[in-house]
Symmetry: C2
Subunit: 333 residues, 2 copies
C-alpha cells in the first residue's frame, strides 16, 4: 500500500481569479492539505488579507506578490497554480516554482498534455522538474478528468477499444457570467467567428483531452480535427446573467475528432450554451464489452476543477519527478 | 510521462475455470500482453492444448500443471491468477509465484483488500513481494473497479465526502448458469439461508470494496455491517438457464454499510437476481459538488473482470514492489 502522508500537505495558491479563489476555498475545506499562502501580482490583490478576497475566514493569510514570500520557511509545499490556459504565457511561473523545488499542479489546459502543441516547452519542463526532483501536472475537470482520466479508468474494464465518444452538454446559465460571455452568448454569428479567429472564443484543452484519451485507451491517433461552431437560441432565453434573444448565439459547440490511419477513433463533443437542454456528461466506449457511463446533470466544472487540484496535491508529493499527466496519477486520493 | 513498455508483457493464466478462460481470451485479444502459458492442475485439463479448452486458436499453447513449466525460460512474465475467492486457499499459489519472482494479478476477491479479514496473510504477502521485488494485486470488476476504484477516481472531483452509495443491479439471466445458482435462483427461503450459513451463497468481496471505497474517498470507517437477503420471484420468470416459479428465490440482495463513529458513510448494495428490473450500476457521492455516475445496463461482470486483469498486467511491471491495491494503480492502461 502507498504510504499515507504524515499530515496535511502545505499548499500555496497562485492566481486569485475565479478558479483560483475556488481552489483556495477547496484547500481550506480539505483535511489533506493546509493552505499556507496565496500569490497574485495584481495591484488590487497583493498585500490584502485573503479572507477579504474570498469573503470567508482564511487562516489570517495575506496575498503575497511572490511564491517565495508565500512559502516563507515552510518546506514540502505544493503550488496550486491557476493563472492561465496557454502554456507559453505561464512557463516562467512554472520554472520559478521548480527552481524553488516546489511541485506544481496547474489548471493550465495546455499543460495537461503539452507534447502535441508545445513539445519543446514540455521537454524543458520535464528536465527542470527532474533536476528539481519534483513533479509537474496539469489537471482540472476538462481537461484532466471527464474526457480523459475518467475515460481511461473506465476503459480498463474493456478489451481492445475500437472507438470512444465523449459528450458534455453544459447549460451555461448554471455558470458564471464570464463563462457565458466566453462561449459567445448574445453575439451575432459574425461576431462569434471574429472572436474564434482571434482565439478569444472556444474552450482550450479539448485537443489535449483527446490526446490523453487516446493514450489512455491504447489508441494510436495520428491526426486530430478540431471544430468550433455557434449554437443559436431557438427562442428568447432568460435565466442567465443576461437575456439572449431568439436567433442570437446561445453558446458554442466544439469537437475534436482523432483519427488513426483515416479511421475515427476518438470523438469529443462539448456544448456550452445558455439554455442547453438535458445537460449531462456521457462516455461511450465501443469495445468488448461496450461501456456507457453517464453523469446526469454533468460535473460542476469550476468547483470540481478546484477539488481535482487539491486532491492531486498529496499524491504529487509521492509521485516520481518530471512532467506527469493525469494518466499517471493513482486512483485514490 | 510513464515509459511505455518496450513490447507486449508475457503473461501466464492460472486456473482455467470460467473466468480463467475469459482471461485467456482477453489476453489473446490484447496487443499489450502476450499469452505464453496456462496452468491448471485439474487432471481433465493439464496437458491438453489450450485451444481445445478455449474453443479458439491459442498460439499452440498446452495447459501446464505448474507455473514454473508454463513460464519456461521466458523472463518478465506476469501471473494472471484465477483459482479462488478466499485468500487462505490460494496463499501457497501466490507465494510460489513470488518465490519465482513473478508479479501477480489475481481475481481473488479477498486479496483486493486483505488488511481487514486477513491482516497476517497480507503482511506475509507484502513481505514476500518486497523480497521478490515485484507487485501483487487483487482486482476485477467487483471488487476492483465498480464499487471502489471507479468511485475513488470520481471522488477526486469532489470536496470532502459526507457519504457514498453504490448500487449494482444485475439481471442474472445475462450471466452463466453457475452464477444464477450461486445467487440462489430457484431455491426456497429456507434453502437460501442454509447456503448463506455455510458460506456457499453470497458475493465475496463486498466488504473489501467498502474498505477500498472508504480509503479512496478519505473516509475513516471503524465498523462495517454486512447483510444478505433473498429476492423473491414476483411472477414466474423464464429466460434464464432454468425457469424460476413465482414465490421462489430469484436471487440475492447483499449490502455492506460502513460507519464512522456510528454515522453511515459508505453503502454498497448489490442485487443479482434472474429478472431483476432496470439493471444498472450507480454511484452517488454526497459531497460538494454532489456527483452521480450511472452505467446503464451495468458493467458485464465476467468479461470486464478478465480485461481488468489483462490491462493491469503491464502497469504492474512498472509498479513498486509489495502488496498493492487498485487505488495505487495509475488511471491509464
Amino acid at each position: 500500500m502507498a504510504k499515507a502522508p504524515t499530515g496535511p500537505v502545505p499548499v500555496v495558491v497562485m492566481g486569485l481569479g475565479f478558479i483560483g479563489q475556488e481552489i483556495a476555498r477547496a484547500a481550506l475545506a480539505s483535511s489533506e492539505v493546509e493552505l499556507i499562502g496565496a500569490v497574485d501580482t495584481h495591484a488590487s490583490l497583493a498585500g490584502r488579507p485573503l479572507s477579504d478576497v474570498l469573503g470567508q475566514p482564511a487562516a489570517k493569510l495575506k496575498v503575497s506578490d511572490s511564491l517565495e514570500k508565500a512559502l516563507g520557511r515552510r518546506k514540502g509545499g505544493v503550488l496550486l497554480h491557476a493563472t492561465g490556459s496557454r502554456l507559453p504565457h505561464i512557463m516562467d511561473q512554472l520554472l520559478e516554482a521548480l527552481k524553488l523545488g516546489v511541485p506544481v499542479v496547474s489548471t493550465c489546459e495546455e499543460l495537461a498534455f503539452p507534447f502535441l502543441k508545445h513539445p519543446e516547452l514540455a521537454e524543458k519542463l520535464d528536465q527542470a522538474a527532474q533536476e528539481a526532483g519534483v513533479a509537474v501536472l496539469g489537471t482540472g475537470v476538462n481537461p484532466g478528468f471527464l474526457m480523459d482520466r475518467l475515460v481511461a479508468t473506465v476503459g480498463q474494464a474493456c478489451g481492445p477499444v475500437r472507438k470512444v465518444a465523449v459528450t458534455r452538454v453544459v447549460d451555461a446559465r448554471t455558470r458564471r457570467e464570464a463563462l457565458q460571455r466566453k462561449v459567445g452568448a448574445g453575439l451575432s454569428e459574425e461576431e462569434f467567428f471574429e472572436l474564434v479567429d482571434k482565439e478569444q472564443l472556444g474552450h482550450v484543452g479539448l485537443l489535449e483531452s483527446a490526446a490523453l484519451c487516446a493514450l489512455g485507451l491504447g489508441l494510436d491517433c495520428d491526426d486530430y480535427e478540431e471544430e468550433v461552431a455557434p449554437v443559436f437560441a431557438e427562442e428568447d432565453i432568460s435565466g442567465g446573467a443576461f437575456p439572449v434573444r431568439q436567433g442570437r448565439v446561445a453558446g458554442m459547440f466544439q469537437s475534436v475528432v482523432g483519427f488513426e490511419e483515416g479511421q475515427e477513433r476518438v470523438r469529443l463533443e462539448l456544448t456550452i450554451a445558455v439554455g442547453a437542454e438535458d445537460p449531462k456528461d456521457r462516455i461511450e466506449i465501443d469495445a468488448d464489452p461496450r461501456l456507457v457511463v453517464e453523469i446526469p446533470g454533468g460535473v460542476a466544472g469550476d468547483r470540481a476543477t478546484a477539488h481535482t487540484l487539491v486532491n492531486a496535491a498529496p499524491r504529487l508529493t509521492a509521485a516520481e519527478a518530471g512532467l506527469l499527466t493525469v494518466l499517471e496519477l493513482p486512483a485514490g486520493r
